[in-house]
Symmetry: C2
Amino acid sequence: MHKAQKEKLRDIFIGMRRCFKCGKRASLYLFQHRAAFCREHYLEWYLKRLDETIKEFGMFSREDRVLVAVSGGKDSLSLWDALKKLGYKADGFYIDLGIGEYSEKSRRLCEEFAKARGLKLHILHLGLEIATIPQIKSIEKRPACSYCGQLKRYYMNKLAKDKGYTVIATGHNLDDESATLFSNIINWNMEYLERQSPVLKGGEGFVRKVKPLFKFTEKENALYAFLSGIDFVEEECPFSEGANSIEYKKILSQLEERSPGTKLRFYMDFLRKCRPLLGAKEIDLRACQACGEPTIAELCSVCKLRQRLNSRILSS
Amino acid sequence: MHKAQKEKLRDIFIGMRRCFKCGKRASLYLFQHRAAFCREHYLEWYLKRLDETIKEFGMFSREDRVLVAVSGGKDSLSLWDALKKLGYKADGFYIDLGIGEYSEKSRRLCEEFAKARGLKLHILHLGLEIATIPQIKSIEKRPACSYCGQLKRYYMNKLAKDKGYTVIATGHNLDDESATLFSNIINWNMEYLERQSPVLKGGEGFVRKVKPLFKFTEKENALYAFLSGIDFVEEECPFSEGANSIEYKKILSQLEERSPGTKLRFYMDFLRKCRPLLGAKEIDLRACQACGEPTIAELCSVCKLRQRLNSRILSS
């Protein structure tokens, strides 16, 4: 583990407390839940809470074939590991974005994780399918996170359908989800607010998408990974620009520090009290004329991007 | 002016710019509006914007008899001054809370303001009506702001009805309103969100209540007061505790600094996009058995407080 990561974790390791479950010396203390745990009972608590969340939101059952989108980071690898321990059918899917050493290291960690546990991992090389993120970055003016997210969603959905998976699970955590909610509220993005949910139903060419870790903080997932001996990539993507989302995460952490539990309450009460009032607009989808994937226009956004890339190559 | 107040204002006084209207050397620059003004044209801009807001939200007309709730601070005295300059019928109402020197100074400034302009000011001494805030504080466990706000709303409404005013106007500014909205969202207080509006309709024993300054920041009101030669009390109430609301104001100011205009957009887009979805529950009101004011219970909260005060005096 890197030094920064260790320091981040140290403040929740409180050696003087006793495990809530067995009374042995505790390894960690969760302010949000006012609970101390030893290693063994933290992992037990994490798995139980994850399974309850999956059931509470009807995300999937043990009959479903789950495709876990893995990036090599603590969240998605913890998710995959935990789903397997809970007895779910879960394979991994890694999209190699072609971002130099960062992508190579991430891919290697995913491959090693899968190999050590005898799990099936699909790998897609974005550079072979369309272009690497650095190549796209050289012609697109939008922030990289915008088309990168779009491409990941596109290929996750496509591969899941092609291979017969019934659900796609991503590693979004409470810090991600509460910061996205905060951003959508500060700017009152009503369309995004309507879609803000840990479960996006499938249908009309889309495979169901779920975020089983949305109740766990980044720290809780890092602890799970650390205590389970999972080796994960700690570097942030070098192209991640989201200055605003970092600012929003900082603000929510300030509020959380003053009043532990704020992030979870803010997100859960949104789902419970506000989201039902928003309703969801029906979107008129059709098949993309080029690739057949669902879209609102004649060509889907990925095929349009492919056209822009091709015309750029032809003209140069 | 105090030194702190002057320093607070100095950062928006930018001497090198030219007035947006007349081209003369500007006295100030408003980041939020990207506009520089000389003294004369700032006052003109402020009055025009205030009058437009009053019309846009149908707050009142020149036929209405407006009761302005004044505290002696920059917001409420600026509001009263501006309403008179715009030709509205506006009298003042000061509630003396009996908080030692703070209340004495505030009352004196309101009286001097009214006298200098030949305006009518009603004064109510809370100590003569029920008890002073320090007296209530000695028996109530709630934060002082809670019963103080309740009492002010009660006596404002009562006096307005008794004296035939058709509207009550308060000096709430954009910083107040956006922080209240923020607090109600972080905690998803749906009942408060439904009532969050610059206009609360009258009826059923209530006089209409409006917040004509809700589009102006604290600084903009302080500038209006300063440039109009209004002497106002700069101290905060010594009993104000609102640690959370101060935290929320700080957070919104951080966001405003990164992206000027955030507070106003956050508040206006809530009114435009979100509030219409909330609906407002019908509340079953009846007349208080003791005082006749509207309430949801047999006794209104002020009469209940009076009972608690009386039983305390009898038992001591």
